[in-house]
């Protein structure tokens, strides 16, 4: 049975008070409670404040390129479907630079969990707008206020029949932990968009701001109802729902890939003997 100490990584280099701390400790707690050992987990990330997370947790990690988390994570899962693969990303990383991969990961449905640290701003590059930044927000790079309409990851994911769609809040770790456990144990591609206050660059969406607005989806919310889930996903403003919006029990990429059913790809032995007759096909 692993403990939280087993998952202790390096000392984080985040600003004091940043929402990322809660997300990090919640991931560790969720893994511990699920009785998953560090050598059974691969955390993949891109670049950003969120992207640094793998260094602060002790397990297998691949910290790759900005926006490219999902292709790496998907392929890693195909290569070894016995690993728990968790992808962590920032909102810029996942929805801007990696937007295309986000769409296609939903379509492929690999059995991996994606945790997006959504702080509605670019943290690491010091405060430019991200796809989830509110319209009109002034930043050093957006002198006329941000001119684009904010991206809604939940409604997009639900519209594309993403197999697990949830929202959590860094300020409610108990709830977030349950969401993470559900995501990790869910069969299929699971998204948790996590409201993460950036105490340095986002002066609007603070812990306080969220506490006044977030509420949990009622027990009678049926996550298998796509239309209802979509409706809920459009709610944003004075009241912001959290919880599991949508679920769909469809086949995962690995389940559909017949060549990895019996043995993970990485464990397949190779012998030249096996391909000897290949040349014959060309005579």
């Amino acid at each position: 049975m692993p403990t939280s100490e087993d998952y202790e990584g390096q000392v984080p280099a985040w600003c004091p008070g940043c929402g990322n701390f809660q997300i990090l400790s919640t991931i560790k707690q969720a893994l511990v409670e699920l009785d998953i050992e560090p050598w059974e987990v691969l955390v993949v990330s891109g670049i950003g404040q969120a992207g640094k997370l793998p260094h602060y947790i002790k397990c297998h990690t691949f910290n790759g390129l900005h926006g490219r988390t999902l292709p790496v994570a998907t392929a890693a899962k195909l290569a070894n479907n016995s690993l728990h693969v968790i992808a962590v990303a920032g909102d810029g990383d996942c929805y801007a630079e990696g937007g295309n991969h986000f769409l296609h990961a939903i379509r492929r449905n690999p059995n991996i969990s994606l945790f997006v640290h959504n702080n509605q701003i670019y943290g690491l590059t010091k405060g430019q707008a991200s796809p989830t930044t509110a319209k009109g927000t002034h930043t050093p790079a957006q002198p006329f206020g941000y001119l684009a309409h904010p991206f809604n990851p939940l409604s997009l994911a639900i519209s594309q029949d993403c197999s697990f769609v949830a929202r959590g809040f860094a300020g409610d770790q108990e709830h977030l932990k349950e969401l993470m456990k559900a995501a990790i144990t869910h069969r299929g591609f699971s998204l948790i968009d996590i409201l993460q206050p950036c105490v340095t660059f986002n002066k609007v969406n603070t812990f306080k701001w969220y506490r006044e607005r977030v509420y949990k989806l009622e027990d009678d919310h049926d996550p298998y109802n796509q239309i209802k889930a979509f409706e809920k996903a459009l709610e944003w403003g004075d009241r912001i729902p959290n919880g599991i919006f949508y679920k769909s029990d469809k086949e995962t990429l690995e389940e559909m890939m017949p060549t990895i059913h019996e043995t993970p790809l990485v464990r397949k032995k190779f012998s030249l003997e096996d391909i000897k007759h290949e040349i014959e096909k060309f005579y």
């Binding site: 050598w39 990690t61 890693a76 290569a79 070894n80 030249l272 391909i275 290949e278």
Partner: protein, 575 residues
């Protein structure tokens, strides 16, 4: 005996099927074959041709002059009739073309009418035409009939029988309506077993035979053949083939699978490779083994999608930000493509670096015949650290441990016991964690790049010298120009001390301790580099790497490969 057959027509008329079947028949009969395709970037219409050269001696390049032209449309007759030898033949169907040609070369065969009469379906006109070509050569129908049986296996006995009857009707028609054919026929070759394979298949098979289990790509001509080949083998050999959403994803996937312990490869052409460049750099800093096929076509941008050029050499050489080691191979034949792909996997895994197989449309889609590929020549060493290798070690595993060779132990996540594997695109320490201090940075650059480089260089073989051992004239080539240069050397060697120096292991340049190739070049009177690009990229690379300057160049950049005739003509200006 050395015949060239050109099958011409519109896209969608079945040129590949006819040309491919004839190439297979010639090789099964024991002739050496070389095929080359010339087609436009469209699915229907336009003008395309499929050329098959077959001979009783080895052939490895295309010719302009044609012995037999099989014209499936009027356009083909108009465009190509002047390329047909005086004693050659033009097979055509005046009824379908609504035009009659006079002259001893023309043999009018009602392909369509015979198909309707015998097969009750005009689609069998192609089978009639294929039979007619064989009739002209008096080669018999046994192999074609086997191919027809295989091809239409799923369509039932009736279709097979009708096609066989059509082939026979075409065969007999040609035999009885070709007064000059007696003198023409193809002498029965020696009984030998030859395999017929093109460049992309050879790369794909090389990957398969090297234990590659993961291939991710986004379709782009002319690299798509590798994707198709490996996909067709996925079930049999248990591979994972993923069509990515773009090339950025393709290379990141290949890196993800390789990091997780599986031999992985990706492939693309110039435009797609442009998108992969950042990922290449990621493979560089994370020291993830990776094999990339870059199949060139003429650029810039979308360029000429179905044509050929060697225009990306310096791009691939310099692609990627930052400094990290890489290897580039550029095979000259499908056989070299097979063995070099294997060597690419060996070096990628041994040194944890990206290795390129660079080729082009011409070699990728040319079929060649070979006696055999020798699996005994293949290398397979498993350099990955697995559970058993770490048994009993108390020392903590460090992905980027400093070593004398610069090569760190490469453990597989989840397969190396409880040891954890940490890889990072940021500059990192031995454990794989982010650093910014200058000492660690220096040590990492030394480990990753400087220590490995001299070892990698030792693995590279010297260029191949073909022809006169102390030549006065040397034609320097690289990659797909191998065949045409070699045939030219054969043609001129009767009255010249001439040789080819061919580079297939392009970068890094090999050491000169075993073969001082620059010395040989210095001693020649005339050194000419022959390249399928406009700026002589290989000659530039040669000067940078060896200091030897090649002053004469024969460059071709019309999107077509060199043929024997046009290289000869260019060379004559020098001799």
């Amino acid at each position: 005996m050395d015949y060239t057959l050109r099958v011409g027509g519109e896209a969608g008329q079945g040129l590949q099927t006819i040309g491919g079947a004839l190439a297979k028949i010639f090789s099964r009969k024991g002739y050496y074959v070389f095929t080359h395709q010339d087609y436009m970037s469209r699915i229907r219409g336009g003008h395309n041709f499929y050329q098959v050269r077959f001979s009783d001696r080895k052939v490895m390049a295309s010719r302009e002059i044609v012995d037999i032209l099989l014209a499936l449309d009027l356009n083909t007759v108009e465009i190509h009739k002047n390329s047909v030898k005086e004693e050659g033949f033009i097979l055509y169907d005046s009824e379908s073309m609504k035009k009659k040609f006079e002259g001893p070369q023309f043999i009018d065969i009602p392909f369509r009418k015979i198909a309707l009469d015998v097969g009750k379906n005009s689609v069998m006109a192609n089978t009639v035409a294929t039979g007619a070509v064989l009739g002209l050569l008096d080669l018999g129908l046994d192999v074609l009939n086997n191919i027809l049986r295989m091809t239409f296996k799923g369509k039932g006995e009736e279709i097979i029988e009708k096609n066989i009857a059509c082939a026979e009707a075409g065969y007999n028609y040609a035999r009885s309506n070709c007064p000059r054919c007696e003198a023409f026929g193809a002498p029965e070759p020696e009984a030998r077993k030859l395999l017929l394979i093109d460049g992309v298949q050879a790369i794909g098979m090389g990957a398969l035979a090297s234990g590659c289990k993961f291939y991710s790509a986004y379709p782009m001509s002319p690299s798509t053949g590798i994707l198709n080949y490996l996909a067709s083998r996925a079930e049999e050999y248990g591979l994972v083939i993923e069509q990515a959403e773009d090339e950025i994803s393709a290379i990141n996937m290949a890196i993800g699978a390789s990091f997780t312990g599986v031999r992985s490869m990706t492939g693309t052409s110039g435009g797609g490779f442009s998108l992969m460049v950042e990922g290449l750099s990621l493979a560089g800093i994370t020291e993830t083994p990776l094999v990339l096929a870059e199949m060139q076509r003429p650029g810039p941008a979308t360029g000429l999608p179905t044509r050929t050029e060697q225009g990306d050499l310096l791009f691939v050489l310099h692609a990627g930000h930052g400094e990290f080691p890489r290897v580039i191979f550029e095979p000259g034949t499908p056989e070299q493509a097979f063995y070099l792909t294997n060597k690419a996997f060996e070096l990628a895994e041994k040194y944890q670096i990206p290795v390129f197989i660079q080729s082009d449309q011409y070699l990728g889609e040319s079929e060649w015949t070979f006696e055999n590929f020798d699996l005994g020549r293949l290398i397979y060493n498993d350099y990955r650290i697995r559970e058993k290798d770490l048994e009993g070690t108390t020392e903590e595993y460090k992905r980027y441990r400093y070593t004398d060779t610069g090569v760190s132990p490469l453990a597989i996540p989840g397969e190396a016991g409880k040891h954890l594997v940490v890889a990072d695109s940021d500059e990192h320490d031995e454990e794989g964690h982010i650093i910014e201090d200058s000492e660690t940075r220096i040590k990492m650059v030394q480990k990753r790049l400087l220590k490995k480089l001299p070892l990698i260089k030792k693995e590279i073989e010297a260029p191949l010298l073909y022809g006169d051992p102390s030549p006065e004239v040397v034609l320097v080539g690289h990659g797909s120009t191998y065949g045409v240069i070699r045939e030219i050397v054969d043609i001129y060697s009767k009255d010249r001390k001439i040789a080819m120096m061919h580079f297939s292991q392009i970068y890094p340049f090999s050491e000169r301790d075993r073969f001082d190739y620059t010395e040989l070049l210095k001693n020649a009177d005339l050194v000419i580099s022959v390249e399928n690009n406009a700026t002589g990229q290989f000659a530039k690379l040669m000067r940078t790497e060896t200091g030897f300057e090649i002053t004469h160049q024969i460059l071709k950049y019309d999107g077509r490969p060199f043929t024997i005739e046009n290289l000869k003509e260019e060379l004559n200006a020098y001799l």
